[in-house]
Symmetry: C2
Subunit: 182 residues, 2 copies
């Protein structure tokens, strides 16, 4: 497809993904302030942005049949084996380049809160990569992956397979801060 | 805060928001292929990316106490009144500049599927803006907004308050394709 339009689809996917994310966090804030209907409105429109992002993403797939990369990771959805490879590629970029650079610059500039936020993410991306690699191997053999409960720390995003630990090894949050996907 | 680190937080928020979104769509694809555990893994890690994005977003708030804008919309979360203004600003940019330009270029380049995807989003952003303005007025008066069910078309993201129509006025999808937030 034409490169300018392709770039616009990538930009629009990025814009809609970020609107979706902002509205989810705005919904949490509205709930804290007891604006229940405003929270519901943010969640509903966040879902509309999820649909918009998906439409743009599928248009990228349909038109280029393949793979476009930008600095944020890889584009062009496909079947699950390909999607797992895209996920592994994206995590690898974050582990090998993006977060190490962001952490280094935050240290250099003395921005401690930003440094912590980058370090929390960085600490988890390696586990994401490993889990996706395990899934890739299973799907590549034509099978679903064997997978216990997956625990996510609601404070720092730390991810592990199995039981939640007493304390998050990355941020120190208590066990109750973990959400299980099982 | 230092501008380079601030830009890295914005970039990381964008990257994590897009990873979150890709993994949600990858989960849907894995379900279609009956890889149930792979779908669950994508959903769990998508949730971890939601936590990462939120951490970076809050770091932006904490450090600049305010407002950073980039081409994708406005940054810097606050209380719900401020968040509604940020939402209105973001939707306004999409309505007044972003989607009209993307639609024009897609037409000019003869990219019909991309044009349709942009037109579907554009058709709905005006309604998003109106709903956020209504919520802004209520919260500005210290009240929650009065709000009926909010219906979202799963095909094009069309959004309305009230009952789902027999056919989506934007994409023609049947009533059953609407999801209600009530
Ligand atoms: Fe696994 O990217 Fe935060
Ligand atoms: Fe798809 O921005 Fe309301």
């Amino acid at each position: 497809m034409k490169k300018m339009t392709e770039q616009h689809l990538i930009n629009a996917f990025g814009g809609e993904s970020q609107a979706h994310m902002r509205y989810l966090h705005f919904a949490n804030q509205a709930e804290k302030e007891k604006f229940t209907n405003v929270a519901r409105l943010f969640r509903a429109i966040s879902h509309a942005e999820y649909v918009h992002a998906g439409d743009h993403y599928r248009a990228l797939k349909h038109l280029n049949g393949g793979f476009v990369a930008n600095s944020m990771g890889a584009f062009g959805p496909g079947d699950t084996l390909k999607n797992l490879q895209l996920a592994i590629d994206g995590e690898t970029f974050e582990i090998e380049e993006m977060y190490p650079v962001y952490i280094e610059v935050a240290k250099f500039q003395g921005e401690k809160l930003a440094q912590r936020s980058f370090e929390w993410s960085y600490a988890t991306e390696k586990l994401h990569k490993q889990l996706f690699e395990k899934a890739f191997d299973a799907v590549n053999a034509g099978k679903d992956v064997k997978l216990g409960p997956v625990q996510i720390c609601e404070v720092c995003g730390y991810t592990l397979e199995g039981e939640a630990p007493d304390r998050c090894p990355v941020c120190g949050a208590v066990k109750e801060k973990f959400t299980a996907f099982e």
